[in-house]
Symmetry: C2
Subunit: 180 residues, 2 copies
């Protein structure tokens, strides 16, 4: 399969949505059709339109301070690379990390007859990793962004992204593996 | 969506990387690349092709015997109904419940500096709810199926599906709510 190496400027330009569904508007972020969405600092990334429609990479649960349930979604380039087991990820890869508060489900627990079921509550924040090996050469080829209610995180926070990802350099700085 | 008794392994089978799924026929669609896939008993449902490419409804964690992380994916009809807040779900709705073993992530924990991160391990089993209000009139309009390694669960197990879903009749027998 051809190695897709895009050169692109992602700051001001919407991405092509993956799924062939018209008229979808993301609930948790003013993404779709919002060309004026604020770019996150340092890497200059805006919320990719239609990311809520992207395909599933995997899921996770974080205990501790985060206390969330999370889903990783990937655009076409990301999903293709994951399924081919291709590293490094090609330019154009975007991985979205969605997260929600970790909430017990009363309805489910009633049925199970015990307290065991935890589901997604309200959305917390969304993070993106965008691959552009030229533009983001100093951070392993990846740009990082985080948004909450459509608003970007500040510079201090975004400075911490890459240093935490550095330990998984052998997996092209991506922690999440594909869930079959 | 409630899943009860069994934890089973599921072999990853060939996936079709499609951007959209249209025109799915509930009761006779062959599995991806497997036109001879066996139908599950009682409701006669086969594995819908391309379900791994469907969009995310929500995620959950089950403790106890299940001890899994799960993702609910929906076909176009399902996703549209969820986003419109439409009940009952229209005929043609299919909801897939994927699940994986609940596994601590050593790489993640190293970075967080504490044991807190749990990710998807190996696939356990997959379940489907298929809406056809005529064909499945006696079970609230829904047909149920479960597969492990591409093989359907037995009749005894599938008899237990609808009784557990009955308590959420007010939500058209579907436990899972849409994660924004």
């Amino acid at each position: 399969m051809a190695n897709l190496k895009h050169t692109m400027k992602r700051i001001a330009f919407p991405l092509v949505a993956v799924a062939a569904v018209a008229g979808f508007v993301a609930n948790s972020a003013p993404a779709s059709g919002d060309a004026d969405g604020e770019a996150a600092p340092i890497f200059g990334i805006k919320i990719p339109p239609g990311y809520r429609d992207w395909r599933l990479i995997s899921v996770a649960h974080e205990e501790g301070n985060l206390n969330d349930l999370r889903a990783l979604l990937g655009n076409d380039v990301a999903i293709q690379a994951y399924r081919e087991g291709k590293l490094p990820f090609p330019d154009g890869t975007i991985i979205a990390r969605l997260a929600w508060s970790y909430v017990p489900s009363e309805a489910n627990n009633k049925v199970f007859g015990r307290s065991q079921s935890f589901v997604a509550g309200s959305a917390t924040n969304v993070q993106f990793m965008v691959k552009d090996s030229r533009k983001y050469a100093t951070t392993g080829g990846w740009g990082f962004a985080q948004f909450k209610d459509g608003k970007p995180a500040d510079e201090a926070l975004l400075k911490t992204c890459f240093p935490c990802h550095e330990p998984v350099k052998a997996r092209d700085f991506v922690f999440t593996q594909y869930a079959p």
